[in-house]
Each structure stands twice: as structure tokens, then as C-alpha cells.
């Protein structure tokens, strides 16, 4: 215990000293509720240009005319949008004082994932733990800056969107809202009005981004809050791989999360966007879990461009998320690989949209849904071949696995083809873990839970192998952990 206390102290000092985090921002909290003044307040706090404020206000006014969508197969009590803080400084005082006070369940999970003790504190939100990006703290303080230098030498811009608004307003203005307009949907519009922060990535023409960009490495990543906004622009002939999230369960004060992610791929550019989402799913009855209502969309603007979404969704009480691709450029490619695991009372309604507009556009959708306990897991997707999508090609495979007789697995694909030369194929299956597979494992001395984890990992393999290496290993463990207690 003494050692733990010592590390806590050390880490706390580290955070305070080297980064000087406790700035005046921490003192400011806007009152609860949402109105134009709050929107103005947020914009003013961030010292945003006028056009940004105008845009936020337009979004806010439009949001007032909208109603909450109800079509997804998720149930939750009505959200009081006036009972939310839209601008709140990080709450340092409310976290546990040391790891001793953290829910032992959570710690057990960290241990299984093999997360170092110091990192655990950050994740658990232990009071005083540094708020800088995880890896940056533990390896060495200079890691983050080293990365920044290397990125700068390639001309890559990787910073928070607030910084980008200060330093590169012309770029933000050119692309923000061009993929997800502020009128898009209820939650995206809300996000447009009140987004707190998020990431901005710009890859100049012809640059192959030298490293996997991760929110891990970005300073300020942890306080992006509940209305995160990410914008990634890949210029002609460039390449970037971006990792979002983290395999360890994150403690979070905010129940409602409405993020927006926009990707723009110009000619010959390629963007890989990988997500591992493991937010707090709530207790066994689903109480207290995070509502994750996210709008993610990528535009393949240029010819021969490519966007790939890979997601592993294991957390949140409710997931409402449809990473999509608009294939505008000729020969552009959209891919979507997804594993969604819902256990206990979790509800996931997720999928993708592939909108084929250009010629010779191709898309591929591989979705693996796993339901256990009393969870509900829905795949909802759209594949649309426009009249000009000559020789468009889509292949979709959605498989659902059921573990237990009280869960649900649903598949709701929409397939619209308006082009003769386009070829669309969709297939979906739903079944449970084969008795014979389980028996085979059990007979060889593998415990039931391990056997289930093994089989489910095999079921998800096609998707997990699309993840960057370091994520893939952790994601495999995560699959096993997420399904704990679902059998036997």
C-alpha cells in the first residue's frame, strides 16, 4: 500500500510540475442548461473567431426545431437537456483519492488487461493523477513533445480543435461541417452548438504520416468532455492511421456523450480510423452507464481515395453509432469492420452507411455482433448505389452471436440500388455458440469462460485483425473480459 501511495504522490507531482495544468480554466463552469448565452460563453472561453460562434448559434437555433430520434432499438429514460453542464472544467475534487477507493471490480479488469498501476490511476480518475495523455506521462514526459516534433517535420498538424481554431482557422473553416453539416441530426446538431473540444488532424499532400496517431499522445485528450468534435483531413496522396479510445474501461462523469467525427480524404488519400470503445456500461441493470450517441462520417472526396472504419464497441450502456462513408470520388473505397459486444443490460444499435456516388466505388462491411445476458444488439446499415455509381460494388456480411436466452440480436439493413452495373451482396446470419465447439474446447480442459472467449475471438477475428497491432492484442483480451459471467 505504501508503494501505491508513493506512486500516487509521484504521479501527482509529475502532473503539476511539468505541465502546469491547473490553469484558470479549471475555475470556470457555465451554469446548467442550454441557451444562446451558454453557446456564446463556450465560444468566448475558447476565444473563437466570429464565424465559429455564428456557426454554433446557427446549429443551436436549428437544434431547437428538432426532435430526438426514436427509431433506434434502444430504450432509455428521457434526457433532460437543460439538466446538463455544457461547459464544465475538469472536476478534480470528485475523483477517488487513491486507487484504494476505486471500485475493486474495475481494478480487477485493469489487472487482466495488464495495465500498469500508474496508468490505472489516470484511467480511474484518481484525484491528482495527471491529465496528460496516458503514454506520454509514463514513458517520459518528453515523449509527447518528441512525437510533436517529428510530426511537425512532416508538416502534419495534430492538435486539439481549439488550438487549430487559433492557429489554422482557415483549414478548420474550410472543412468543418462539410461532412456532417450542423443540420445533420439531433445529436450532431447539439454537438455543433456546444462542442467542447476534440482532435484536429491535417496531413499535407503526399505525406505518409510517420506514426499511428492516437488520442493517447495528444495533450488535453482527457478533458475533451462529452461533446467531442474530431476533424481529420487527408490531402492528396497522403495516408494516416488514427486510433481513438482505449481498451481500459474509462470512468466518466458525463452520462451523455454526443461526439462528431468528420473525415475528409482527397485524391489518392487513405484514412484508417480505429476505435476501441469501452466506456462504463453501468451496473448489471444498466444503471449509470454512458449513453454514447455518436455521428461519424467520412467523405472520399477525391478519386482513388479510401476510408476504413474499424471499431470494437464493448462499453457504454447505449451505443448509437453509424460510421459511414460517402464515396464521391471515382474508384474510391469504403470499409467498415465492427465488433459490437453487449452484455448484461447494454444496448447497442450500430452499423454503417455506404453511399456510392462515384464510378467504380467499392465498399465492404463486416459486422460481428455479440449479445449476452439481457443485452440488445442491433446492426443497422444502409448501402446505396446512386444512378451514377457505375460498376459499384458492395459486399456486406453481418453475423450475430447469441449467448444466453434472454438477449436479442437484430439486423436491419437497407439496400438501395439504382444502378444496373452495380453489384450489391448482403448476407447475415444469427446463431449461438455451437455446442460442438464448446464441447471440443471443454474436452481439452479449457474452462467454459475461456472456451467462450476463444470461440468469440475466432468469430471476431476478421475484424480484430484489421486493428493496429497494439490495439488488436488488447482487444482480444477485452472480448473475453466483456463476456465474463455470461455463461454458466
Amino acid at each position: 500500500m505504501a508503494a501505491t501511495a508513493q506512486t500516487v504522490a509521484q504521479v501527482r507531482d509529475l502532473g503539476k510540475y511539468k505541465h502546469g495544468w491547473e490553469t484558470e480554466i479549471e475555475m470556470e463552469t457555465a451554469p446548467k442548461g442550454l441557451n444562446e448565452d451558454i453557446v456564446r460563453f463556450i465560444s468566448a472561453r475558447k476565444d473563437e473567431p466570429d464565424w465559429m460562434l455564428d456557426w454554433r448559434l446557427k446549429a443551436y437555433r436549428h437544434w431547437l426545431t428538432m426532435t430526438e430520434p426514436t427509431w433506434a432499438m434502444v430504450d432509455y429514460p428521457a434526457i433532460d437537456f437543460q439538466d446538463i453542464y455544457y461547459y464544465a472544467a475538469p472536476k478534480n475534487t470528485e475523483g477517488p483519492k487513491s486507487l484504494d477507493e476505486v471500485d475493486p471490480e474495475l481494478l480487477r479488469t485493469y489487472e487482466k488487461l495488464g495495465i500498469p498501476l500508474k496508468e490505472q490511476e489516470v484511467l480511474a480518475g484518481v484525484q491528482g493523477a495527471p491529465k496528460v495523455a496516458v503514454d506520454a506521462v509514463f514513458d517520459s514526459v518528453s515523449v509527447a513533445t518528441t512525437f510533436k516534433k517529428e510530426l511537425e517535420s512532416h508538416g502534419v498538424i495534430f492538435c486539439s480543435i481549439s488550438e487549430a481554431l487559433q492557429n489554422h482557422p482557415e483549414l478548420v473553416r474550410k472543412y468543418l461541417g462539410t461532412v456532417v453539416p450542423y443540420t445533420d441530426n439531433f445529436y450532431a446538431t447539439l454537438n455543433s452548438a456546444v462542442f467542447s473540444d476534440g482532435s484536429f488532424v491535417y496531413i499535407p499532400p503526399g505525406v505518409h504520416c510517420p506514426m499511428e496517431l492516437s488520442t493517447y499522445f495528444r495533450i488535453n485528450a482527457k478533458d475533451t468532455g462529452q461533446f467531442e468534435r474530431t476533424l481529420i483531413v487527408a490531402e492528396e496522396g497522403s495516408y494516416v492511421s488514427y486510433l481513438e479510445g482505449c481498451t481500459a474501461p474509462m470512468r466518466d462523469e458525463n452520462q451523455l456523450h454526443a461526439a462528431v467525427v468528420e473525415l475528409v480524404a482527397l485524391k489518392d488519400a487513405e484514412i484508417k480510423y480505429s476505435t476501441v470503445q469501452n466506456w462504463y456500461p453501468g451496473d448489471e441493470t444498466g444503471k449509470g452507464g454512458i449513453y454514447n450517441f455518436v455521428t461519424k462520417r467520412g467523405a472520399c472526396r477525391g478519386d482513388d481515395s479510401k476510408i476504413r472504419w474499424t471499431q470494437v464497441e464493448t462499453g457504454s450502456a447505449i451505443t448509437w453509432k453509424y460510421p459511414s462513408c460517402i464515396l464521391q470520388g471515382d474508384n474510391s473505397v469504403g470499409e467498415f469492420y465492427s465488433v459490437a459486444i453487449a452484455n448484461n443490460a447494454q444496448q447497442a444499435d450500430t452499423g454503417t452507411k455506404m453511399i456510392h456516388l462515384g464510378r467504380n466505388t467499392r465498399s465492404r462491411i463486416i459486422s460481428k455482433g455479440i449479445s449476452a445476458g439481457r443485452a440488445r444488439n442491433t446492426y443497422r446499415g444502409l448501402v446505396r448505389m446512386g444512378p451514377k455509381a457505375l460498376n459499384g460494388r458492395n459486399f456486406t456480411q453481418c453475423d450475430s452471436l447469441l449467448i444466453g436466452d434472454r438477449c436479442g440480436a437484430h439486423t436491419v439493413p437497407y439496400i438501395e440500388s439504382r444502378n444496373r452495373t452495380a453489384k450489391v451482396e448482403h448476407e447475415a446470419t444469427t446463431s449461438r455458440i455451437g455446442e460442438d465447439q464448446l464441447f471440443y474446447c471443454r474436452q481439452r480442459g479449457i474452462g467454459e469462460e475461456d472456451a467462450v472467449a476463444l470461440i468469440v475471438n475466432g468469430f471476431c477475428k476478421e475484424v480484430l485483425q484489421e486493428l493496429p497491432m497494439e490495439f488488436a492484442v488488447e482487444a482480444q483480451k477485452l472480448v473475453g473480459i466483456s463476456l465474463e459471467g455470461s455463461v454458466g
Binding site: W71, M385, P387, S400, L402, I403, G404, D405, R406, C407, G408, A409, H410, T411, V412, P413, Y414, I415, E416, S417, R418, N419, R420, T421, A422, K423, V424, E425, H426, E427, A428, T429, T430, S431, R432
Partner: protein, 452 residues
């Protein structure tokens, strides 16, 4: 008068959705006879209120997302068409290549005994008109109808519920096998105003019975009409009901059909739908597998060209364990035609050991054709095997090349491939005598399609 529907005050929402297309509907069926039982008036009025509350579904209604009925509201309809003068000789006999041994003819939704030929059917099997069955107070008919009317089912079913005047009724007692296929010929005729008719059909198959019904819908006119049909099927334990429908309505007709089947233990429902005609057509099947061992096969083939819009919607409810469903729909689209396939398979909680499979494939032959597919699976049990598949696209270029390389001209090669494509679905028709005429229909359609 039982048939009078007091609706004028409540029809606001329905009327809002269009012009005067409901004018004639508001006065209700002119049933003329006092034979209609008292309960019927209340049932109709209640349904009329339900319709008025819904209004006609627009594309914001999820079930009608891809099918617009805007065309309908632009029409001025004749809701109580006078019996049309139809000569027996002018009736087509396409289905079997000849007149069936047992044929009931409906003209504009009304049963016409003079045009029909119904021999004595085995074991007390009854084939009659709904009007007749209601007038004679047939207990089974009234009970089933009351039950089914009470069930909700969307605006167009409510519209049909509000009418309940005529249609065909087929009652097969327990254990009876009816060997000869029963043909129902439904004829639509034009008129100064397009007629609107809403037959309500009932098929009651007793435990262990076997029966085959062939419905043939044709238009004896070039102009349009609006047919809003509802067919209720109740299959007792171990019953086998085969239903084969050929829809060859006038190219201007609007044909909206709902078939609602409930299957008891071990019962089997086999449906095949061949869609050729209609300006806007929708064939909706709802099958409820209520007890273990119930099984349904839903198959269909469609051909659409010009500006035709054809919609096949199915919903299979696996309400009991050990139930089984299989679906295959294949279609060919040309011109500016649009096709819709929506297939929903639901497996309820505790309905274990269920199998449900579904496949939808569409061929697009023209640049301007469109197909929209929405197969849905809602699974609440774990010991199940469910799947669906959907494809859309042109003919396989390699298959075409293969035939061309062997000297088959392109037009002929395409025709062969299209026929082969549809024959997979047609092969599933249980009634062997039906297959050849259907295949001929495909060949004729291909030969007659305008060259692009």
C-alpha cells in the same frame, strides 16, 4: 342500415392526405340487403375510425418507406361500382392453360356465381362468397372475422376492415383433403371512374386438412382501378395450405394485398406469388407460426418494366419453438421500374430451435431501374439459426460471355439467363401444372420487353 359508416366528422386526417379519393368511401358499402348481421355495422364503423386516425401511410411510415401511394390520392374513385357486364367467354384461362375444374370468379371484388363453376367439393368443404356466408350466419366465419378485424394491421387493413362486403370464403373441415386446386379468378374492370374494391377473403383449413388455392388477378381493361385485398388464413394442426397467386392486373391498376396467416401445431403454409401487372402493387404476407412444428415457405418471382412499382413485404413471426420458415424472392426489373422487398423475421423469446431463412435477389436490366431491399431479423432467443441474403445487380458477365462464345446471340443469351434466374423461384411452386405456364409468362415478358 348496418353499412352506413358515420365517418364524416373524423375523416379530417385521412382527407388531408389527398384530394377527394375517399368521397365514395365515406358512405360505406351499399349492402342493400338486410341480411348483414348487426355486429358488422359496429365493426365497420370502428375500423373506419381507425383508418381516419391513421390516414393513408406516407413514406415516413417505416413499412411504407419505399412505396408511395401518392398516385392513389390523385384519383377519383368509384367505391361502389355497379356489377360490370362480363361475358364468361372473355375470362382468361391462363393459369392452367385451360379453365380449372373448380373456379370462383370475382368481378371488382364481388363473387359472381353465374361466371363461376364450383363442383361439389369433398367432405363438406365450402367455397362461397363472404356476402353469402355472412347472410347465412356461418358461425366460423363471423368468429374468425371478428377476431381478425380486432387485430391491428395498418391503415390499409383498417380501410378494408371498414368495408367487409364480399370476397371468397373457403372452409375445409378437419381431416379433409381437397385434391383439385381451387382457382379464384379476380377480375378488375375499368369504368368511367376507376373502381375501388376491397374484397375480404377467408381460408379456414381444419386440422389435418389439405387444400391448394390458386388466385389469379387480371384486368379486363387498359385503365386503372384500386384493389385493396385482405385474405385471412387460419390453418389448424397439421393442415397444409398452399397458396399460389398470379398477379397480372392492368398496367394502370393499384393492387394492395395483405395476407395474414396463423398456423397451428405442425401446420404448413406454402405461398408463391408471381407478380407481373399493376402500376403500383404490394403483396404483403404476415405469417404467425403459433405452435411448435409450424412451417412456412414464402416464395415469389416478379417482372416489372415501364413505370411499374412492385413491393413484396413479408413478416414471419416465430411465436413458438421449433418453427421453421424459408423465403426466396427473385425479380427482374426493366425500364424505370422499381421493386421493393422488405422481409422481417422475428423470433420471440423462448421460441427455441427455430430456423428462419430468407433470400432476395434482383436483376436490373436497365439503367433506370431501381431496387430497394430491407431484410430484417429480430431475434430474442438463442438456439436459432437465422439468415438472410440480398443481392442486386446485372446479369453475370461471365455467364453471358460463356453463352456468347458458344454462338448464342446476345438477346437470346440474356433471355436464357433471365429465365434461368427466375426459374429457381418458380421451381418452388408445389403445383406442377402451374410451373410451365409461369415459365411461358416469363418468356413472353422477355420477348415483349422494349429493346433499349
Amino acid at each position: 342500415m348496418a353499412g352506413l359508416v358515420p365517418i364524416a366528422e373524423t375523416a379530417g386526417t385521412a382527407a388531408d392526405s389527398g384530394a377527394d379519393w375517399l368521397t365514395g368511401w365515406r358512405s360505406g358499402p351499399a349492402d342493400g340487403s338486410d341480411a348483414a348481421p348487426d355486429w358488422l355495422g359496429a365493426v365497420r364503423a370502428d375500423a373506419a375510425d381507425r383508418f381516419a386516425a391513421h390516414g393513408l401511410p406516407d413514406r415516413r411510415v417505416e413499412d411504407w418507406r419505399y412505396t408511395s401511394l401518392a398516385h392513389l390520392t390523385g384519383l377519383e374513385l368509384d367505391w361502389a361500382p355497379a356489377p360490370a357486364d362480363v361475358a364468361k367467354e372473355s375470362l382468361p384461362a391462363l393459369v392452367f392453360g385451360r379453365e380449372a375444374d373448380c373456379r370462383l370468379v370475382l368481378v371488382n371484388g364481388q363473387v359472381r356465381p353465374a361466371l363461376s363453376s364450383v363442383p361439389a367439393l369433398p367432405g363438406g368443404t365450402v367455397l362461397t362468397s363472404l356476402a353469402g356466408a355472412l347472410a347465412s350466419g356461418h358461425p366460423g366465419v363471423a368468429d374468425l372475422l371478428k377476431r381478425r378485424v380486432a387485430a391491428t394491421g395498418g391503415a390499409l387493413k383498417a380501410l378494408n376492415d371498414s368495408w367487409l362486403e364480399d370476397g371468397y370464403v373457403l372452409i375445409v373441415p378437419d381431416g379433409v383433403t381437397v385434391d383439385m386446386p381451387i382457382e379464384i379468378l379476380s377480375v378488375g374492370t375499368g369504368g368511367a371512374l376507376p373502381p375501388a374494391y376491397q374484397p375480404r377473403n377467408l381460408i379456414v383449413a381444419g386440422a389435418g386438412s389439405r387444400v391448394t388455392v390458386v388466385e389469379h388477378h387480371v384486368g379486363l381493361c387498359i385503365g386503372g382501378y384500386f384493389a385493396n385485398l385482405v385474405t385471412d388464413v387460419a390453418a389448424g394442426a397439421e393442415a397444409i395450405v398452399r397458396h399460389c397467386k398470379v398477379q397480372d392486373e392492368s398496367r394502370e391498376a393499384i393492387h394492395i394485398a395483405l395476407l395474414d396467416a396463423a398456423l397451428d401445431r405442425g401446420a404448413m403454409f406454402d405461398s408463391f406469388c408471381f407478380t407481373l401487372g399493376g402500376r403500383i402493387s404490394r403483396n404483403e404476407l404476415r405469417v404467425s407460426l403459433d405452435a411448435p412444428g409450424a412451417h412456412c415457405r414464402l416464395n415469389g418471382a416478379y417482372l416489372a418494366g415501364g413505370r411499374q412499382h412492385c413491393d413484396h413485404t413479408t413478416s414471419v413471426d416465430h411465436a413458438a419453438p421449433e418453427t421453421h420458415s424459408d423465403q426466396l424472392y427473385k425479380g427482374v426489373l426493366d425500364g424505370r421500374a422499381r421493386a421493393v422487398f422488405q422481409g422481417k423475421v422475428t423470433v420471440r423469446q423462448d421460441a427455441q430451435k427455430v430456423e428462419g431463412h430468407q433470400m432476395s435477389r434482383a436483376l436490373l436490366l436497365s439503367e433506370t431501374a431501381e431496387v430497394n431491399t430491407k431484410p430484417e431479423l429480430f431475434i430474442h432467443a438463442d438456439d436459432v439459426q437465422c439468415s438472410h441474403g440480398a443481392t442486386a445487380g446485372d446479369l453475370d458477365a461471365e455467364a453471358l460471355f460463356y453463352l456468347r462464345s458458344r454462338g448464342v446471340p446476345e438477346g437470346q443469351a440474356r433471355q436464357l439467363l433471365v429465365e434461368a434466374f427466375l426459374n429457381e423461384a418458380i421451381d418452388a411452386v408445389a403445383l406442377a401444372g402451374m410451373r410451365l405456364p409461369l415459365e411461358r409468362n416469363v418468356a413472353r415478358w422477355m420477348a415483349e420487353r422494349p429493346r433499349s
